[in-house]
Symmetry: C2
Subunit: 700 residues, 2 copies
């Protein structure tokens, strides 16, 4: 038998772009994937002999390289039951086979109503990716497929099978045996391996993969070849040294300004407001003094070397400034200016020059076009957006946008009562990119959870590799901007046609344990929750509400939209809830607390009810929905703080109904004391849904 | 040929619960649905003759009543190509046929990879409902089906076909002809008609319905019979007369109380606070005076007849009070007390007595267990929850919950700056129910839009009938509490197994043009928007944001999650946006407004940019995302009010980024002046998505 290498090489030498079905299947077989019993033949006698050997009924196909979609082209005769039918079919196909330079393939007939699809595609970003889904006529119509980046673990393979909408057909349905999941997993992992082993393989389609007696069999297959791309031999940039950004001992601001509201002034104000304890040097050709600090006329004039330089100069002046700073010993540089590749061709050229300056001088650089970075454990920020003192906390951000570290940060500081550890605006990512920052946050003792906004991956496979590790110990939550649904429109293979950027990212992120979110506001709502409270241990929620529609609607929301469960509480809990309530109401989870509140007082009922479910082993997190109106009574909020302190292992969130002024007052009291609140009743549940997914990723 | 009636009658007389395939198909054929060519036979000779007549290949099946799922039971031999195979198959099946009391059916073989399913089920609430979806092995595994309530219009039938996820397979895929949509629609409508014509038909399954050359053919079919239920001859309740609730000239409070914070006191406070202009009488056995009003000792003592009585007495005293009020001329009664069927068996009996009292006296009643009703055009409320003066507006509510008209209303009054026309809490719906209130709101000139929270439908078909009419002129937005996904677990037919309560409600509401929402908070967020501004004419949105991630994330949200489009603006608009912006940025929709704001001032840029897109014919609604921080400048908000006034035909909403205090100040300024604002950037888009669906329903 020819080796896989030989088959591929032969096809390439013959100038083929696809490998014939027969040879494609030989490659699959070599990788442990079951294929149909089949024989290539050159004349009718051989075909008859082959059919006898295989056993009727058989299928006859034209087998040639560069042939796809045989059914549509009439290159296939199914269900041949005997020699007479075989002869008839042979007469139909032989001319076509000759025209296409192919041969006649006799193949056993595999029956089964379950047609699956598997494939491999070589994604521009993530490299070889494996696909699984419903096959046959449904492949494109339903698009019910999932992707993973190769190599796949056993768990990746199993998860991608369970992820499709139609996963139930893998079970024993309608008298058919359950599909052998071990084989499906094995095939998927091995498909990935083909992609890793053979750079010339661009796409693989197995469609249909028919299930016979529980065993999946590749009935048709197509391998598409590609000219392997030479690896870009990019000049190596330095790595490491991010601690100089986050823990600088001395900092120079290049382009310091006297003028209030200019970036070169705001950055100094921010550094002073954050009480940076290291040395601060300012540089401006005019010299003089700014905000009580001496101004040096040039970088060369600086009296000593600096760890970090913040360059706030026009784009054109940036490359030279980098070289000068490096000469002065700076290892880390923040490039604030815009006007680079994001703008025009001239900017693109400037960006190239900047990159060269970075490379030549061996510094690390953030930006250009970054909104700066913040490191509260070190009392430092390089932001030139007026921020003031950034509150300390244990959530860290990576943001490929200027929005977050600027006006969204101002919103958080003005209303959301939580602090941050590190924030880094990536800008144009000329040097420092997300995976390296993620790695830094992973080992950072000050960072408890990581939130990311990304529009593109600079080193996609590296990002996944890092994320896969960090998500085992810290939650990583990512909002991907610029989601597109389009696949490659003119693709030959099904896999490629279905391989939209977004589907592959979806699979890759799941594989890495990164929790994807879709709502910008969750970047701060979930962060606030995670900042104040532990992650829930699971997805089992209890909540207390002032009756009726709120209980019903939120239970619907948890079950049908958020993947949260609202389980029965333990009998002793139920009994206690009943004891504090009037007899006419039958208590359960979720907790209809108002009858008890009416009977025993608002504070007593909410306190006792909340404590009962906080103690309950069936419950992972609790939400209190307080009704606050003058007439029904506004309790003092300290009992909630006490409960949160007494049960530190379970998240307790608060939301409201009633008059806005009391809600705001409760928020102002509770949040600084560690209890997060949410203005709309759905929000704490949306947040819990995100955090329960984080926990699941950590438990993988 | 036997008539449809004869077939059904015969099966019932024979004690069968299902009709045989052959007879089921005869019924379908009589209703214009294409079936397979097929012949029932009694011996091999007849079978051979039948196969010759039909033409090989044929299928042989055991045909008997009370037989479902033939494939799984081995009662089917497909692909018989000649007499020899026929004989073989006959030998296989004939014994089984005899055992089942059936005959041998010879049937043409219909080939085609597209297997659909159609069915009819008799829903407890909505009566005969028609199903459509993907059939064969995928029926239950994918559950990709849609439902409509019979009778179906042509539009209903077309919409339910387009609604399934796999609707693309109806198009010409992979060399197969597009499915004849006219036939699909025809079949679906006629299936519904069978259900309406024949009460004995409980379920119909057509599975598979195979597509041959574009034409759908019923290949297998099953009709399940039922004992028709005798129609409940419920004693007729009065109808009409709702104007006495909403426009009473005189009102009596039965159970008026001296004691503050008791329901019988709060209701009087509310009536006075709302400046009710009619006559108000109070009744309490103790007599005296309450809040300056004389108290009569009994209903009989009232000096004159009253339009409306609000009875706030314990449940047990309610029936007698109804009779007394009716004797005094009251036509409309609000029953505030709880403690009826919602509580226990005793309450259930009391509810029966109350119903009898209502029936006997011919009054109309809201409740019991209602939170009351409000009618601001008439300055009246019967609410006993402390509300104070309810602001006037043009949105009306129907709520099957005490939450809405009480603490949610307080929240709205304390923060959301919009008013209501009518609000009615349905309570236990003993008499007045949702469809009648909906009908009243439909003709109410004070009501512009209708919001509904429902947990059950009292008269489901009546509700749909009314809704179908009103949604052509007014938006109707409904939140259904208590959504369950479970279908009938032990159903024989596929249709019944897939007919979950929620799927049927989903179909019914779409059919009626009612826009379903899933988020409680949207009951007020969407109402605020609709209250201040017109409905958008379509789903084409423009928005202005302070750059970057916000533009990207919100465009993603609009396209992928909300069904909104963010189209190109007209060239003249684009050019104008470019003119007010620095040259380095290329302007388009959505509008990146901050470069212009930096160059020309925040107010100028937002005003000019917003006006440009408001004028644009490609745009149906505009959202301004204002960045508000001290340092970047907080513009005066009056220009926004002016824009809203100058372009009254297009919705203009505002949301924010930046410091909370400026957001709140902007809200306090803008909302009372008719411009709705939203604290989170996603919210105006969520609302526009709902309103665009309302518009689409109105344009049906």
């Amino acid at each position: 038998m020819k080796s896989v290498e030989a088959i591929i090489e032969e096809a390439i030498l013959a100038g083929k772009t696809t490998i014939s079905e027969f040879d494609s299947k030989k490659i699959l077989e070599a990788y442990g994937i079951s294929i149909t019993h089949e024989i290539l033949t050159d004349d009718l006698a051989e075909a008859e002999a082959a059919a006898e050997q295989i056993g009727y009924p058989v299928v006859m196909k034209v087998c040639a390289a560069d042939v796809a979609h045989k059914t549509e082209q009439g290159l296939l005769e199914p269900g041949i039951k005997n020699a007479a039918e075989l002869k008839h079919a042979y007469n139909n196909l032989t001319t076509k086979a000759r025209e296409l330079g192919g041969r006649i393939l006799i193949q056993e007939m595999v029956k089964g109503p379950r047609e699956l699809v598997m494939g491999l595609t070589r994604d521009d970003q993530f490299g070889p990716c494996v696909m699984f889904g419903l096959g046959g006529i449904f492949t494109e119509a339903l698009g019910d497929v999932s992707f993973r980046v190769a190599p796949l673990t056993e768990q990746d393979a199993q998860e991608m099978c369970c992820e499709i909408n139609g996963h139930k057909i893998l079970e024993g349905v309608r008298g058919h045996e359950a599909v052998r999941m071990d084989l499906l997993s094995q095939y998927l992992k091995n498909l990935g391996q083909i992609g890793l082993d053979h750079p010339a393989v661009r796409e693989i389609d197995i469609n249909p993969l028919i299930v016979r007696d529980g065993q999946p069999v590749a009935v048709d297959a197509l391998i598409v070849l590609t000219e392997p791309k030479p690896k870009k031999s990019e000049a190596k940039l330095a790595t490491g040294g991010l601690e100089k950004f986050f823990e600088p001992q001395s900092v120079a601001v290049i382009g310091a300004s006297q003028t209030p509201h200019k970036a070169g002034n705001d950055v100094i104000q921010n550094i002073l407001a954050n009480e940076f304890a290291g040395k601060l040097f300012l540089v401006n050709p005019r010299g003089g003094e700014i905000l009580g600090h001496k101004v040096y006329k040039s970088i060369q004039d600086l009296p000593e070397s600096v760890d970090l330089a913040v360059i706030i100069l026009p784009a054109a002046a940036t490359p030279e400034a980098i070289r000068n700073c490096a000469a002065k010993g700076a290892k880390a540089i923040v490039l604030a200016a815009g006007g680079f590749a994001e703008v025009d061709d001239k900017g693109e050229r400037l960006q190239e020059e900047t990159l060269k300056a970075i490379r030549d001088s061996g510094v690390r650089a953030i930006g250009p076009n970054t909104s700066g970075h913040t490191s509260t454990p070190h009392n430092f920020t390089s932001s030139f957006f007026p921020l003031g003192k950034v509150p300390k906390g244990d959530v860290s951000y990576i943001a490929q946008t200027g929005n977050f570290a600027t006006h969204t940060m101002r919103y958080i500081m003005s209303w959301e009562h939580y602090g941050v550890a590190r924030v880094l605006g990536l800008g144009n990512k000329l040097d420092v990119e997300e995976s390296e920052v993620l790695e830094y946050y992973a080992q950072d003792p000050k960072t408890k959870a990581i939130f990311i906004y990304l529009e593109s991956f600079k080193k996609p496979r590296r990002f996944l590799e890092v994320a896969r590790k960090v998500t085992q110990s810290k939650p990583v939550i990512l909002l991907k901007g610029g989601a597109t649904a389009e696949g490659a429109s003119a693709a030959v293979a099904h896999t490629a046609a279905l391989a939209s950027n977004d589907r592959i990212i979806e699979g890759a992120l799941r594989q890495a344990g990164v929790v994807r979110i879709y709502t910008y506001s969750h970047l701060f709502l979930a962060a606030k929750a995670i900042s104040a409270m532990p992650l829930p241990k699971g997805n089992r929620i209890s909540f207390l509400a002032p009756s009726g529609a709120i209980l019903v609607c939120l239970t619907d929301l948890c079950h049908h939209r958020l993947g949260l469960s609202v389980p029965d509480v333990e009998e002793k809990t139920r009994q206690y809830l009943q004891d504090i309530s009037p007899p006419y109401i039958r208590m359960r989870n979720p907790v209809d607390i108002w009858p008890a509140a009416t009977a025993t007082g608002v504070e007593f009922a909410y306190r006792e009810g909340t404590e009962a479910v906080l103690k309950d082993d069936n419950i992972d997190a609790v939400v209190m929905i307080l009704m606050l109106t003058e007439e029904t009574g506004v309790p003092s909020m300290d009992f909630i703080v006490e409960l949160a302190e007494r049960y530190p292992e379970k998240p307790l969130y608060v939301t409201f109904s009633g008059q806005k002024k009391y809600m705001d007052a409760a928020k102002e009291y509770l949040e600084p004391r560690g209890v997060p609140t949410f203005p709309l009743i759905e929000q704490p549940f949306e947040v819990l849904s995100i955090l329960a997914r984080c926990r699941k990723a950590m438990d993988r």
